[in-house]
């Protein structure tokens, strides 16, 4: 009995370690691929133990850093601006909806909630954002569509505000003749930091990883590409090369195409900040999953 209990514990840990490895090993392969000598690659392929290590990819990235740095800068900019706007929009709407005696509260709540049930989909959104608001080939194309990430965050935030902020504190502030907006920024904002961190984290991650907006809305001005868009274009160009036999097209495409090691290197650079920051925010991240996962 005791023996079987022990072997059960060991089996549980073995399975968990295998799952953990399954999550990590693809990234190890990616890093190794970026470090593989180009000639070795053609003979032996991507491997966890490349026969010949080469830093050529990273040398290249360092020497021709402008384009990559620019895309990297775009990613940082879009993430910072988008996340800040997202937090402001989420918090201001959630705070309004958290007021129990607000005239029109039912209607406004429904107005927000309904967008979770029904949506127009990609094509009408595309037509309206490009045809009416002309965001194609502007930096706004990377920020505006899907800014609020649905009404989901608003409802999450409102629930947090109504359950975690004691009404007495707000009343006390009202007694001190603090304005409603003043209360939001001086009383409510500091008290809702954990939820703001969670919403900000999800939104920041979404902006950092977004490539779909670039794919749809950046047609000509490729200098606005984020690092994800650069990765996406490089891969499609490589596939184009592999599947195309038209010589002139091949030549022009291969000139602009970095080696496979460099492509993998850029992917590593794109992933790195997320992996570096993640452990510090892991707490908020897990919390966000738990709160949002079930209640929806």
């Amino acid at each position: 009995m005791v023996g079987s209990k022990k072997s059960f514990r060991i089996a549980v840990n073995v399975i968990m370690i295998l799952l953990v490895l399954a999550c990590i090993l693809p990234f190890v392969l990616l890093v190794m691929a970026s470090l593989t000598d180009e000639a070795t690659l053609t003979t032996y392929g991507y491997s966890f133990f490349p026969r010949k290590i080469s830093f050529a990819a990273y040398d290249y990235l360092l020497s021709s850093y402008q384009k990559i740095l620019k895309a990297y800068g775009m990613t940082f900019f879009v993430t910072a601006v988008g996340t800040t706007m997202n937090i402001f929009l989420t918090l201001s709407l959630a705070y309004l909806l958290s007021k129990k005696d607000l005239p029109g509260r039912m209607f406004l709540s429904f107005f927000v909630f309904f967008t979770m049930l029904f949506n127009g989909g990609m094509v009408p959104s595309y037509i309206i954002w490009t045809g009416v608001f002309h965001i194609r080939d502007t930096v706004w194309a990377l920020i505006l569509p899907n800014l609020l990430m649905g009404a989901y965050n608003v409802i999450l935030m409102r629930t947090y505000l109504t359950t975690n902020i004691p009404p007495e504190i707000i009343e006390a502030a009202e007694m001190d003749s603090c304005s409603e907006v003043g209360i939001l920024f001086r009383v409510v904002l500091p008290l809702s930091k954990p939820m703001i961190a969670t919403v900000g984290l999800f939104s920041g991650l979404a902006y950092w990883n977004d490539w779909i907006n670039g794919l749809y809305y950046l047609v000509r001005r490729t200098e606005l590409y984020t690092i994800q868009n650069v990765l996406n274009t490089m891969m499609s160009n490589a596939e184009f090369l592999a599947n195309n036999t038209n010589v002139t097209q091949l030549q022009s495409a291969s000139l602009s195409l970095p080696t496979s090691g460099i492509r993998m290197g850029i992917a590593v650079i794109a992933v790195l900040p997320v992996l570096v920051i993640y452990p510090f925010f892991q707490k908020y991240f897990v919390k966000g999953i738990v709160v949002g996962g079930v209640k929806g």
Binding site: F8, V12, N13, M16, L19, V20, I24, P26, L30, T42, Y44, G45, Y46, S47, S92, Y95, L96, K99, P103, T115, L117, F118, N119, G120, G121, V123, P124, I127, I128, F133, L144, N146, L148, A151, P167, E168, S179, E180, L184, N209, D210, W211, L215, Y216, Q228, M235, E239, N243, R263, M264, A267, A270, V271, Y278, Q282, F285, V286, I289, G293, V294
Partner: protein
């Protein structure tokens, strides 16, 4: 406290409007954003019944009845994308739920808090990656000429390498694996958090009565997870006609030879709109996706409200 609450209730509508006016104003950008980003596109769905052209715009484009829809169903892709979307969703939902619950239970059986924390942190990593990066990871394994699977596994064992990106038959399996890999951590954490919240007294009593770990899982954990599973299933049913565009576009590298098994409504809509200049068909497909998705949410919620009111969404 109660006095002041009553006093607040007595505030007239006019006073409350005046009191909250600055807050309405502050929330106005958010509300306008919802109008632009969510409500205008809902209205834009009627464009599915127009012969839309970007040159003529929304108002000037002429109506053309059901032509977009008949045109859509005239091609073989209509059937392919609807069956693919639904089949993938069903498979993802079933396997994903079983897998996530299994991992959550295993995680709960890990005694060391430190180890538990480490496992929990690492299985979430795939969820943090963009689909572009996932596409690169998959490519490193499956590339026909350099891939790890071909070069380090199949060829050394004496098999012939497989040209993965041109063989449509493998992709239902590949995409299912990639989807599970990316999402199992996230879902497991949801179930794990639920399990952690269960009252330990049940388990202690069961242990006293000599119940084995397996019996405890079967008789306590699984039955108590039921409500959570139902809520999550109902929520996923609403996404029955939606698909993860990145998974189906990026991971197969938009390879034309794989379209038979990789085309879902979302990739079809993208290709029709952006590559084939076929706005009509993409509008028709998008219209069906939105309306059918909405119908499924409403119907499921109605059924759940009748049978199990606590699990209903609204």
């Amino acid at each position: 406290m109660t006095k002041s609450e009553k006093a607040k209730k007595r505030l007239s509508l006019k006073k409350r409007l005046k009191k909250y006016a600055p807050l309405y104003l502050l929330a106005l950008p958010s509300l306008l954003y919802l109008v632009v980003n969510n409500y205008l596109p809902m209205g834009g769905l009627v464009l599915a019944f127009k012969k839309f052209s970007f040159r003529k715009g929304i108002w000037e484009s002429p109506w053309n009845g059901l032509k977009n829809f008949t045109f859509l169903f005239g091609s073989k892709w209509a059937k392919i994308m609807f069956t693919n979307t639904i089949l993938y969703n069903v498979v993802f939902l079933l396997l994903g739920t079983v897998f996530a619950i299994t991992v959550a239970i295993l995680l709960n059986e890990v005694i060391s808090k430190k180890a538990q924390q480490v496992y929990q942190t690492i299985i979430l990593i795939p969820h943090l990656m963009s689909m572009v990066v996932v596409g690169y990871l998959v490519f490193a394994f499956l590339s026909g000429s350099n891939g790890f699977i071909n070069k380090s596994i199949l060829e050394p064992l004496g098999f012939e390498g497989v040209s993965w990106y041109t063989e449509a038959g493998y992709w239902p399996v590949i995409l299912t694996i990639v989807h599970l890999w990316k999402s199992f951590g996230f879902q497991s954490i949801v179930y794990f958090a639920t399990i952690v919240g269960f009252d330990r007294a049940y388990y202690e009593a069961a242990a006293v009565d000599g119940a084995s770990t397996w019996q405890q899982i079967r008789k306590i954990t699984l039955p108590m997870l039921r409500p959570t599973v139902i809520i999550l299933l109902v929520m996923s049913l609403g996404r029955m006609f939606a698909s993860d565009f990145g998974l189906f576009y990026q991971v197969p590298q938009d390879s034309g030879m794989l379209y038979r098994t990789t085309t879902t409504i979302d990739t079809f809509v993208y290709r029709a709109l952006m590559q084939d200049n076929d706005v009509g068909r993409s509008l028709a497909a998008g219209f069906l996706q939105s309306v059918l998705g909405f119908a499924v949410v409403m119907i499921t919620n109605l059924i759940v409200r009748k049978t199990d009111p606590d699990s209903a969404l609204f």
